[in-house]
Amino acid sequence: MAKIIVVTSGKGGVGKTTTSAAIGTGLALKGKKTAIIDFDVGLRNLDLVMNCERRVVYDFVNVINEEATLNQALIKDKRTEGLFILPASQTRDKDALTQEGVQRVLNELAETFDYIVCDSPAGIEKGAHMAMYFADVAIIVTNPEVSSVRDSDRILGILQSKTMRAETGGEPIEEYLLLTRYSPERVEKGEMLSVEDVEDILAIQLLGIIPESKTVLKASNQGVPVILDDESIAGQAYEDAVNRLLGEEVEHRFLTVAKKGFLKRMFGGNQ
């Protein structure tokens, strides 16, 4: 039975798509057959980050409307074995996502996949609801700033009520915090919230801290998930996060201000 992971945030532009691409690729690298679904209907960009936009024939909405089969719409990743992308439609709006349709597609994927990663759109509207509704695991992507943390808190509340597990009284969804675009220097200067601040407010398990790094933008412009860039500390941090997701205990590398000197060197080397 596949595990369904939703990557969500409430606030836009915090790094959900970057994270979905990285975590999905990371899971596939670990030998897990993984599909990444773009729920951002109308604003698709997962296919750009995954560099498969030129191979899109059918999309998620086509499958929901039974205009195409799942196999026709799934795009096999060229770099990573066992990784597939289900792109979003650029021409429809999010009302095209019906609960029954989404469920049918997820059930079909669950027959053959180990992990299904759902890249949620921003906001708390229909697309975000559909992306989270059937999830087993939620990765809450948060930037270390007050508005992002507030939105994450809100999303956590919605996860507790507007999901299948909540509505049927099943086991609660596993919730993980992924702090992205973290800059220890700016935390030091008091311009950003610290890991402790964010953990204190959200009170959920920390899956990882992804440092702010120019390699992320470079990678997505080139259509390479940043996790494949061994040189990038953001890529390494994503790798750690994947290992933790799979149950390994990995020390947080970018957690404390005490390690700042070390981080600075790392940053210096990578920007």
Binding site: I124, D153, L156, Q160, A166, I201, A203
Partner: protein, 290 residues
């Protein structure tokens, strides 16, 4: 079935009501009745006979899924058996937003009378179609528009899902949660921004943080064994003996029986970010060490 939600009748633009305006539901009703009486008695013209004030009340919401007289009656009987005095002249808003058939014809006169037999007094409908609105007007019930986005975020459902522990002690019917909470309600998970939890008829115990943007309410005391960053309103039906306790005072607002302090006032307190209790001393909200 019964959920609560703050019903906002905004005649003024401020979201946080003024001290005088912030009255518990009971008192507010009393106020309305008085003004009606003065109108009828046609007193000599000496000053205004009433004042219209915007206010924010906490009302119970009855979320109707369908209206079938016998089954409704049966569920009500069951609900009230456990706590015979559970509803005592409790005003309630009939929400039609969760009707399984949104076009169902509802006899609001029947429904109203039936509710009243159990001590629930419908004061308005919420949501529903134009037909519902017309039928409700005939039954003397005005319509409050359906909440849009806020609705999907506010707590109605969360309320019960927050209380898995409580709920699993009893059967599945949501009414049981309500009945249990008549004594006290315990919440073990964080209360998140946008969520609202109301412990009707008793105390609310939260064993986790209450986030900024969240709201906890109780007819009795509120205990937060964690930081209180959102809004906490104890004694919402006017119990001035109610208290609020928390491990760290970081609240947006605390209120006891309608007497409140907002974050701006609270920040200057020596106990800001410290453990504290709040109580009422002849209408003054006292914040002190525990």
């Amino acid at each position: 079935m019964t959920k609560t939600e703050d019903t906002i009748e905004e005649l003024k633009n401020n979201t946080i009501p003024n001290r005088e305006e912030f009255k518990p539901a009971n008192e507010q009703n009393g106020g309305n009745l008085q003004s009606k009486a003065s109108l009828n008695n046609s007193q000599p013209p000496s000053g205004p006979t009433f004042n219209l004030k915007g206010s924010q009340l906490t009302l119970m919401v009855l979320e109707l899924h369908e209206f079938h007289f016998d089954r409704f009656n049966q569920q009500m009987t069951q609900a009230t058996q456990r706590a015979p005095n559970f509803f005592q002249q409790t005003p309630v808003v009939l929400s039609l937003e969760k009707l399984s058939n949104p076009n169902e014809n509802i006899d609001f006169i029947d429904l109203s009378q039936l509710c009243q037999e159990y001590g629930l007094y419908p004061v308005a409908i919420k949501g529903g179609s134009e037909e519902h609105q017309l039928a409700a007007i005939v039954a003397g019930l005005p319509r409050i528009p359906a909440s849009k986005n806020r609705e999907s975020l506010t707590p109605q459902k969360q309320d019960s899902s927050q209380n898995k522990e409580t709920k699993s002690l009893s059967t599945k019917a949501p009414v049981d949660t309500a009945t249990l909470s008549a004594i006290s309600q315990t919440v073990t998970r964080p209360v998140r921004s946008g969520q609202q939890i109301y412990a009707q008829g008793g105390d609310l115990i939260v064993l986790a943080p209450v986030s900024a943007g969240a709201e906890v309410l109780a007819d009795g005391n509120i205990h937060v064994y964690g930081p209180l960053r959102g809004r906490a309103l104890a004694g919402v039906k006017g119990n001035s003996n109610a208290r609020i306790f928390c491990h760290s005072l970081e609240a947006e607002l605390i209120s006891i029986a309608g007497h409140y302090k907002v974050s701006e006032d609270l920040r200057s307190q020596p106990l800001w970010k410290q453990p504290m209790q709040a109580r009422l001393d002849s209408k003054h909200l006292i914040i002190e060490k525990i």
